[in-house]
Amino acid sequence: MLFAVACGGSSALTAKSLQQQRDAITSAAAEGALLAEQVADDETTEPFARIHSGELADQAKAAAQTLTKARAPAALEAKRREAAADARSTFVALEELHRAPDDQAVARRVEAELEQLAK
C-alpha cells in the first residue's frame, strides 16, 4: 500500500533506506512463500497464483533495481550487495511461480527458497 519504497535512479543509500529495501524484500519473499504453499497444496486458483506472484515479483524487481543502481557508503556496501542479491533471488523465484502457477512441484521448491530468503 503506502509502503512502496522503490525510489529508482542512482540515489545514495542510507542505513534507513537500505533497511526499507531489505524489509520490502523480506515481505515479498515471505508472502511469496505463503502463496507458493497454497499452490503446492492445491488450495488456490491458477489465475490468482499467476497474478499475485507477478505482483510480488514486480516488488522484488523494483527493490533489486534500486539496490543495484544505488550508491552506498563503504560501510554499507557489503550489505547493499547482499540485499541486491537476495532481491534478485526473490524475483527469480517469484517469476518461476508466475510462469508455472499450477505446478505443485515447482511451487514446493519455490516455497522452500522463499522461506530461506525471508529469514
Partner: protein, 408 residues
C-alpha cells in the same frame, strides 16, 4: 424478510462506504504493522459514522432535504461551493480508485489484462446503475458484498490471541514510530467517516421515500449497517495481525488481502473473499458516482433521484455518467488505484468538518426539525465525535508529511 430488505441501505452504505478498496487494504496494513493495536480506532470511526448517518437520515426524512442541501443552506453559496468542489474532487479520486479496484479484483479472479477489465468494469457499472432500480442496487451489491464475512471466519480459524485482541480496544501505542501509528489512526478514522457515505445515505433515505414512521428503520440501518462494516474491519485487521505481522509482510496489493482468506480457508475462502471484495468495491463505486451526482444536483437545485427517469432528471443522470467516465479516465492513465484511495482518504479527512458541522446544526434546529430535533444523547455523541473529527482534520496533512505517508 421485509425487515431484512429494509436495512439494505445501511448494508450498502456500510459495505460500499465503510469497506471500500482503501479500507480493505488500510485495515489489512494496520493489522500487519501494528497487530491488534488499532482496533480501537475502528470503534471510534464506527461510532462517528453511526451517529452522523442517523442524524442526516433523520434530517432527510423530516425535511425531505438531503445532506448537501443542509451544507449549502448553512454554509452559504461561497463556502458551500468550496465544500462542493472539495467534496467532488475527493469523490472523483475515490471513484477512480474503486473502478481500479474492481478491475484488480476481476483480474485476480479471471487473470485477464488489467486494462481490458477496466473497460469491462466501467461498462458493467454504468449498465447496473442505468438498468437496476435503487433498491436492487442496494440489495445486490450490499448483500453479495457480505461474502466479505469470510474474513471473519478466516480470522477465527487463525486462532488469534483473544487477550491481545481485547487489549486492542484500549488505545495504546506500543511502537517505535509514533507518527506512523498516528497516521494510521487518522487514516482509519477518515476512511470510516468519508463524506460520500453521509451524502449517499441521506439521499438514499429520500430515494427510498422514508417518512417519519421510518425513523426506526433509519436508526436500525445506521447501527446495524455500520456495525457490520466495523466487524469486517476488525476481521481484516485480525487476519492480517495473525498472518502477516509475525512474518513481517507489508501487504501492498489487493492480492495480499485475498491471500488472507485463502490461507485459512483454501480455494473456497479465496473465491468468497474475492467475490466479497468485488461487490463491496463495486458498491463503493456506485456510492461515490451517485454521491457526486447528488451533491451537484442538490447544490444547484436540479431534479435528482434514481427513482426519476433519465428524462425527468437529465442533469442528474448525466452527472453520474460523467463521474464514471472521469473516474475511468483517471485510472486508465496507470496510477495505482490503492495509492489514489489512500490519498483521497487523507484529503477527505480535511474536508470532514464542512460536511459534519452543518448536519449537526440542522439536526439541532427546531424550526427545521420540530419534535425530531436532536435530543441530549444525540448531541453528546454528536459533539464528542465532531471534536474527534476536528482534531483528525487538523492533524491529517502534518501527519502525512511527518510519517512520509505511513512509510516512516
Amino acid at each position: 424478510m421485509k425487515k431484512v430488505f429494509e436495512i439494505a441501505l445501511g448494508i450498502l452504505a456500510a459495505i460500499g462506504g465503510f469497506v471500500d478498496i482503501g479500507d480493505i487494504v488500510f485495515n489489512t496494513a494496520a493489522g500487519a504493522l501494528f497487530q491488534y493495536q488499532l482496533l480501537w480506532a475502528v470503534v471510534i470511526g464506527v461510532g462517528a459514522i453511526v451517529t452522523y448517518s442517523e442524524m442526516c437520515g433523520r434530517v432527510a426524512v423530516v425535511s425531505q432535504r438531503a445532506a448537501f442541501d443542509a451544507v449549502r443552506e448553512r454554509l452559504g453559496f461561497g463556502v458551500g461551493l468550496l465544500a462542493l468542489v472539495a467534496g467532488q474532487l475527493v469523490n472523483l479520486l475515490t471513484l477512480a480508485a474503486e473502478i481500479g479496484g474492481i478491475a484488480l479484483a476481476l483480474q485476480l479472479v479471471a487473470g485477464l489484462p488489467f486494462r481490458v477489465l477496466l473497460v469491462i468494469a466501467v461498462l458493467a457499472l454504468g449498465l447496473a446503475i442505468w438498468a437496476m432500480p435503487f433498491e436492487w442496487i442496494e440489495r445486490v451489491f450490499g448483500y453479495i458484498g457480505l461474502a466479505l464475512l469470510v474474513f471473519a471466519v478466516g480470522a477465527i480459524k487463525l486462532h488469534p490471541d483473544w487477550g491481545g485482541v481485547a487489549s486492542g480496544f484500549v488505545p495504546h501505542a506500543d511502537t517505535g514510530d509514533l507518527a506512523v501509528y498516528l497516521f494510521f489512526v487518522v487514516g482509519l478514522l477518515g476512511a470510516a467517516t468519508v463524506p460520500y457515505e453521509v451524502y449517499f445515505y441521506s439521499s438514499g433515505a429520500i430515494e427510498e421515500r422514508w417518512t417519519p414512521k421510518d425513523l426506526g428503520i433509519n436508526k436500525a440501518n445506521a447501527i446495524i449497517g455500520y456495525s457490520l462494516g466495523g466487524l469486517l474491519s476488525f476481521a481484516l485487521m485480525i487476519t492480517a495481525a495473525e498472518l502477516f505481522y509475525p512474518r513481517e509482510i507489508s501487504p501492498e496489493t489487493l492480492g495480499s488481502v485475498a491471500l488472507g482468506a485463502n490461507v485459512p480457508l483454501g480455494e473456497l475462502g479465496l473465491l468468497l473473499g474475492l467475490i466479497g471484495i468485488l461487490f463491496a468495491v463495486s458498491g463503493a463505486a456506485i456510492d461515490t458516482a451517485f454521491a457526486g451526482a447528488y451533491n451537484l444536483a442538490q447544490f444547484f437545485g436540479w431534479e435528482w433521484g434514481k427513482y426519476r427517469t433519465a428524462v425527468e432528471a437529465p442533469r442528474f443522470t448525466l452527472a453520474w455518467m460523467v463521474m464514471l467516465v472521469l473516474g475511468f479516465l483517471i485510472v486508465v492513465t496507470g496510477v495505482d488505484p490503492i495509492q489514489v484511495t489512500e490519498y483521497s482518504v487523507i484529503f477527505s479527512v480535511v474536508a470532514l468538518p464542512a460536511t459534519y458541522v452543518p448536519i449537526l446544526l440542522v439536526a439541532n434546529d427546531r424550526a427545521y426539525m420540530g419534535n425530531y430535533a436532536n435530543g441530549r444523547i444525540a448531541n453528546v455523541f454528536g459533539i464528542f465525535y465532531l471534536a474527534v473529527i476536528l482534531v483528525v482534520a487538523v492533524a491529517a496533512i502534518p501527519l502525512m508529511i511527518i510519517s512520509n505517508m505511513g512509510q516512516g
